[in-house]
């Protein structure tokens, strides 16, 4: 199995977008080596703008560029671009429904040692709550690459969430479709809807449970907004029980998005797995995933308990 960080795909895709379209411009806030936007800078130095450590100004500048017809991509750590710049994203980007693509890297607790101040745990909620914003949380390197390419064709603002840590590369498809979830594994007993790095973990947990005769349907909901209502409702009708899992607070993120769909269209028992209204902390990614229950064993146990409960 190959392991790569999703943030690397962001840099690669930016370069390919830059080759195709000279209206693509890239902005960063002194983290271009970490977010990987530096790859674009190397190829297109005249279309790259380092705005310094000033995320709020960076997003406003991106909005201004979009008003002239350019296609800006702006990146920083997820916690800073969605947090420090939130109000600018709301007023200047979303309110005008401008085509600006924001990339938040170093999301979730997999940031590791930098600790709670640097671990974005509410970025999906923040971005999802804004009208016009689309939210994409790709499951691996391949899907990130495809999502970034596709973002050029999406109208209005887009938020793409990437990760610092390497994770398995396993998604096989040729195109990312906004608003479409993929059933990666078919099952009858329970539906697990996941996004980001959690998807491969859930697939591993499903394999463990298969041995115990539990058949898990795994849905990759990388398009968190808009969310694929059809696929989720159809799966819920089949299994009757739904679990969501995300490397994010359980308040307002994927779990909420899925619950909102089911509440309206097919009321079903839902268990939300994620970060339970606490901040992250320092530690290796592995230690933190153990502490927060993001291991295939703990996930399998939670699925089993939910089915028995």
């Amino acid at each position: 199995m190959e392991f790569r960080a999703t943030r690397e795909a962001y840099g690669m895709a930016l370069v390919d977008l830059g080759k195709k379209d000279d209206r693509v411009v890239v902005l960063d806030a002194d983290l271009s080596g970490s977010t990987k936007s530096k790859e674009f800078q190397k190829q297109f130095p005249n279309r790259f703008f380092n705005m310094g450590i000033a995320e709020a100004n960076m997003t406003g500048v991106a909005a201004g560029m979009a008003l002239t017809g350019l296609k800006p991509y702006a990146s920083s750590f997820a916690v800073f671009i969605t947090g420090r710049a939130f109000e600018i994203i709301r007023q200047s980007i979303c309110y005008q429904n401008l085509h600006v693509v924001l990339c938040g890297s170093h999301s979730g607790i997999s940031v590791g040692e930098d600790g709670g101040s640097h671990q974005a745990i509410a970025d999906i909620s923040l971005m999802r709550s804004l009208p016009n914003m689309k939210v994409i949380v790709p499951a691996d390197y391949n899907e990130t690459y495809l999502a970034v390419l596709e973002s050029a064709n999406i109208e209005g603002p887009v938020y793409i969430r990437t990760s610092r840590a390497k994770s398995p590369v396993f998604i096989e498809k040729n195109k990312f479709e906004l608003g479409k979830a993929d059933v990666l594994r078919h099952g009858n007993n329970v539906t697990v809807v996941a996004c980001g790095m959690m998807v491969s973990l859930v697939l591993d947990a499903a394999k463990l449970l298969e041995k115990e005769g539990i058949s898990v349907e795994v849905v990759n909901a990388s398009s968190v907004k808009p969310i694929d209502r059809g696929t989720i409702v159809e799966s819920a009708k089949k299994t009757g029980r739904v679990i969501t899992i995300e490397e994010h607070t359980i308040i307002g993120g994927l779990g909420s998005a899925v619950s909102e769909v089911l509440m309206k269209e097919y009321p079903t028992r839902v268990l939300r797995i994620g970060i339970e209204d606490v901040f992250g902390e320092s530690g290796t990614k592995e230690d933190l995933f153990c502490k927060f229950g993001f291991t295939k064993e703990v996930i399998a146990k939670k699925i089993e308990e939910f089915l028995n409960g």
Binding site: R84, G112, G283
Partner: protein, 274 residues
């Protein structure tokens, strides 16, 4: 002339602790921790600050806000040396469950006056503490240590404006002016100069000094403490990675710890006073 050999010796030991901590943690910020050491040594051991390690939340203590929170290994080593906790705690830096978080956490570690790490957030809290002294009728000073790159954040200038508007003479801002940030030189990424003039225009009494020269640091800090009319800014010219030849002025060592080999070399250099 006064002899600052004692402080220089402490600084050398602190730099060694910082490098060992970072090496054991296998991650963290070497360059900006090394550049800020002399500023912190002057504050904590140069007779500038009142604090009591036995009573970390003593209400009358002078406050330190490390607004460039990523340099916390230096602060952690200083607080251990000052007696806030056992030195052994230093080797748990960045490990699961350690109070020595990757960025300072005031709820977890005694001696840390404010949680920081997201740049720009320290100075605003420092302004709040300085303003609070007026309400509480306290005489404490607030020392806020900032990066030069950090000054690109707009919020820092909102804070300076407020500090000056409210004539917070108990606020002393010290800029660790090492000329580098992450992606390159501050002047190339987003120029902040002319900095002295900017601070002066914002109403700060401003000094520009050598940030590794104890006489300069101590004299200026004493003068700043006597200022009763306006906030003070001290632009301390420093070298990122100071004290270790192969890290000095090298942007590559911003967020990288020393390897085992590099650690050995660095410790030797510090001992021999290269």
């Amino acid at each position: 002339m006064e002899d600052f050999g004692g402080l220089e010796h402490i600084a050398k030991e602190i730099r060694k602790d910082v490098l060992v901590m970072l090496n054991k943690a296998k991650s963290g910020h070497s360059g900006g921790s090394l550049s800020v050491v002399d500023i912190l040594v002057a504050l904590y051991f140069g007779g500038i600050m009142s604090y009591n390690p036995k009573s970390p939340s003593w209400e009358d203590r002078d406050r330190v806000v490390l607004s460039k929170g990523h340099a916390c290994p230096a602060l952690y080593a200083i607080l251990a040396k000052a007696g806030f906790y056992e030195k052994d705690l230093l080797w748990t830096l960045r490990k699961l469950g350690s109070p020595l978080q990757g960025h300072p956490d005031a709820r977890k570690l005694p001696g840390v006056d404010a949680s920081t790490g997201s740049l720009g957030n320290g100075i605003t809290q420092a302004v709040g503490m300085a303003l609070a002294a007026r309400v509480l009728k306290k005489k404490y000073k607030v020392f806020c240590i900032m990066g030069d790159g950090e000054l690109q954040e707009g919020i820092t200038w909102e804070a300076f404006m407020a500090a000056s508007h409210y004539k917070l003479s108990n606020l002393i801002v010290i800029v660790d002016f090492n000329g580098l940030q992450i992606d390159g030189k501050v002047m190339d990424i987003m120029n902040i100069s002319p900095l002295k003039e900017k601070f002066e225009a914002f109403g700060f009494r401003t000094y520009e000094i050598g940030g590794h020269v104890y006489k300069n640091l101590i004299d200026t800090l004493i003068t700043a403490k006597r200022n009763v009319v306006s906030p003070t800014a001290i632009i301390a010219r420093t070298v990122k990675g100071y004290g270790v030849s192969f890290m000095a002025n090298r942007v590559e060592y911003h967020g990288v710890p020393p390897s085992n080999q590099e650690l050995e070399k660095a410790l030797k250099e510090l001992d021999n006073g290269v």
